[in-house]
Symmetry: C2
């Protein structure tokens, strides 16, 4: 199933949470929920000041070792005819050097998430996980993109 790029970007702008899968150096899958913003084929997810477990930076170690990521945006609904997901698979890397990019993404994060008015988008060294997607997969139980269009419709 195809998704119109405008719809995809509207969804990425609207949807607050995604789940990010990476692969550890030992080959095991790793999975965390993330916040994010997107632009031009790339998703940015910050290492922010939310509390970190001891392995919170495993995602960074993993993309440095393996260079791949998969980001899932999905909606669960007790009415299964409304289920949908969108998955972005591609090349992942860690960004800590491009100050202009880090600043721009911080502004985008503050605009998307009011929570970043009282919490820093970056904790310590400004750090982004950057996923450049190579493939977009879309699934809906209904077989058309209507449930996704509802998700991006003005409320």
């Amino acid at each position: 199933m195809k998704i119109d790029p405008d719809i995809l970007y509207a969804l990425l702008e609207r949807w607050p949470v995604a789940r990010l899968a990476t692969v550890a150096p030992d080959g095991r899958p790793h999975l965390v929920p993330v916040v994010f913003v997107a632009e031009a084929g790339v998703v940015f997810s910050p290492v922010d000041a939310k509390r970190k477990s001891s392995t919170a930076l495993a995602r960074l170690r993993n993309v440095e070792a393996r260079g791949r990521g998969s980001l899932l945006i999905d909606h669960y609904d007790a009415d299964w005819s409304r289920l949908w997901w969108v998955r972005l698979d591609g090349v992942a890397r860690v960004e800590q050097d491009d100050a202009a990019l880090l600043d721009r993404v911080a502004r985008r994060l503050r605009a998307k998430y009011p929570q970043y008015r009282s919490l820093e988008p970056y904790a310590g060294t400004p750090t982004l996980l950057v996923l450049r997607w190579e493939r977009v997969r879309v699934w809906t139980q209904s077989g058309d993109t209507a449930p996704i269009l509802r998700a991006v419709a003005p409320q």
Copy 2:
């Protein structure tokens, strides 16, 4: 952070959706939302009659090739003090032979999901993805398990 096993099983019984990460034979991460039931250190997720994309069975190919899975249960909330996630990491396999197990899990799925009154828990050859977890990781923004206790409290 530790979670009381009774709380963990109550959460697994209550929570309708999880995200499952596996690793493809070529080493790329793979990620899908799943429904599931759990018992005694094991999560079962069926290949049901919901619509499948052409790669819907990638998860089965992956666990047969790699034998590992990571299952994430999490709650997103605009109030970030209420964020939490629980992740089960372990050994994954495909089950198609144990008829008693397949029957028992089908009953559990019908009990948990009223949607399975009108949809078969299994499509075609009864098939379960089985994840035996070796590690439970728990994270909450608040630093205690209060947000998870709220999620399993009677409503």
